[in-house]
């Protein structure tokens, strides 16, 4: 049962169902005078239909390949946990710090944190890379392009 195409179909089924159900909240209208819910409902139903097609039709070559190359989820997670945490976490940090602290700290944390996702990047290298990018950001974006993003802000 653990086949690639079932996961793929499942994801589409989920999106399709959610769209169709969500669109019921909005007015349907008639075919001649469609309400806001008509088009998304059509799309949702279409996607559910496609997801069923994906599940019941024979595997396509890329699905056969994907099934052949499967590795257990735990193995993937162990290997990729660090880079993923660092990159996703770095961007989240940029959002939060950007909102409350300004461009300089946000950029620094984003670069420093995401660079540490690669075990080959030493703390020192990440630090200097972050300093370099911050300098570039100030010069190019703050002064060069006059981007509306305060360098520092408090709270």
């Amino acid at each position: 049962m653990h086949k690639h195409k079932y996961y793929a179909a499942g994801l589409m089924l989920l999106i399709g169902m959610a769209t169709a159900l969500g669109s019921l909240e909005y007015g349907m209208g008639t075919l001649a005078r469609m309400g806001p819910g008509y088009f998304p409902l059509l799309l949702g139903i279409l996607l559910v239909f496609i997801s069923i097609l994906i599940a019941v039709t024979p595997d396509s070559p890329d699905e056969i390949r994907a099934d052949a190359e499967r590795e257990p989820f735990r193995a993937i997670a162990r290997r990729r946990l660090r880079p993923w945490t660092a990159t996703v976490g770095g961007v989240i940090a940029f959002i939060v710090i950007g909102k409350y602290g300004g461009l300089v700290p946000a950029t620094f944390v984003l670069i420093f944190m995401s660079a540490l996702g690669d075990p080959k990047n030493s703390v020192k290298a990440s630090f200097w890379l972050a300093i370099g990018v911050v300098a570039f950001a100030i010069a190019a974006f703050h002064y060069g392009l006059q981007l509306q993003f305060p360098l520092f802000s408090w709270g």
Partner: protein
Amino acid sequence: MIDNLILGFQTAFSLHNLMYAFVGVVLGNLIGVLPGIGALAAISMLLPITYGLDPTGALLMLAGLYYGTSFGGATTSILLNLPGTASHAVVCVDGNPLARQGRGGQAIFMAMFASFLGVCVGIVLMMFFSPMLVDVAFLFGPTEYFALMLMGLLAASTLTSGSPLKGIASVVVGLIFGVVGTDVNSGVARFDFGIPELQDGIALVALAMGLFGITDVLANAANLGEGTLLTKGIGGQSVRPGKGEIRKAMPSIARGSVIGSALGILPGAGGTMASFMSYATEKKASRTPELFGRGAMEGVSGPESANSSAAITAFIPTLTLGIPGDAVMALMLGALMIHNITPGPQLMVEYPAMFWGLLVSFWLGNLMLMVLNIPLIGMWVKLLSVPYRLIYPTVLFLIAIGVYSTNNNVFDVGVVLFVGVFGYLSASLGFQPAPLLMGFILGPMMEENFRRALLLSRGDAFIFFERPLSGSFMAITILMLTTVAYKRLRNRPKPIAVQEDPASV
């Protein structure tokens, strides 16, 4: 018509205008290589500078900015897989694999060359057909638009290197993403989850950068720590394509230019649709379709020429009908109105010097760009010899700041992250990002035309088949669908050899 062209050359080559165009090109080029800052951001930032110029000079400078950024966007798409604009998403599909094979310089050169030729073809076609093209644009009602978009979307779904059925699914997901935001007809905010920022819909830049940039970083993160370089074999990084390659690319450039010129006149998604259609055409026409998505030069040259020739003919609806093709054209229109020039069918007659000067300056600007950039390509490509462990944090920053700059809001950075994670998840399940993006772009226009067409026909759905032009689009659509269904259902007993796939996301 030759008179017009000569007048255009005279206008564009006057010292003043030459200078404005040059300034525009250089600035555009510099700004364009910053990912995420596309023509739209660059033009809106620099629009105030042009207030003091005469209208022709202002327009020439804006046009310079336009293709300067557009070319810069192609560079980052190829080297870093970061499309700044929708029309460059297609260039990513094959340009980036080429860069990974150490042929980035050649791919950039080809993109530039194809774009230049596309402009040439666009101008020639404009010269002979511009009055006719205006009439063709009038033939398109909502019914025709809907049918054409349906056909375009189905063509886009063949962009995937994998299963076409999944390509169609990606398109539908893109259409669903496009529904988010305020419904134009009723004013109801749909799928906004109570977040005010989502009432304007998902920002296009956030979606494009998330689907390509973030997804790419997450996919490459799997190999972190193994000391990978983006390119294999830094040695043979020549800029000039191989001898036969330009000749081999010629048919694709020719087809791309014609597709681009034809679709460019349609207000809306002309350029984007043209580049996607051209890609699909090249894949169909190629003797080695399996190479597409893994680094086919035709996958760069065709769409790039289509994109640029569409940019030329897109001036027809903008300047003569007053309907801007996209946000960039709308800004140009705004710039014209500031100078008291009202677009309309009379514009070509009243201001011939400006109209044709603008066209020639497109040609000239592309030429300048080629001359300027041939020495620079080597430098851009060298960037890739920097170890990836230093590149990806910088890429993340450029994505974040580029997306921030569209609305000056960190909310969009959150959107880019969400889209990126979703894109990674769905790409690992075989749903490719390019068709999704296409669906997203065309979605809102498609819905509007769908509703309008059925309103006009009083709810008669057969209208799409009854009108000749839309009927033929629908026939092609159905034909394509049948092919997909047939291929999926046909039993394939032979086992597929597992190939090494450098482009696997």
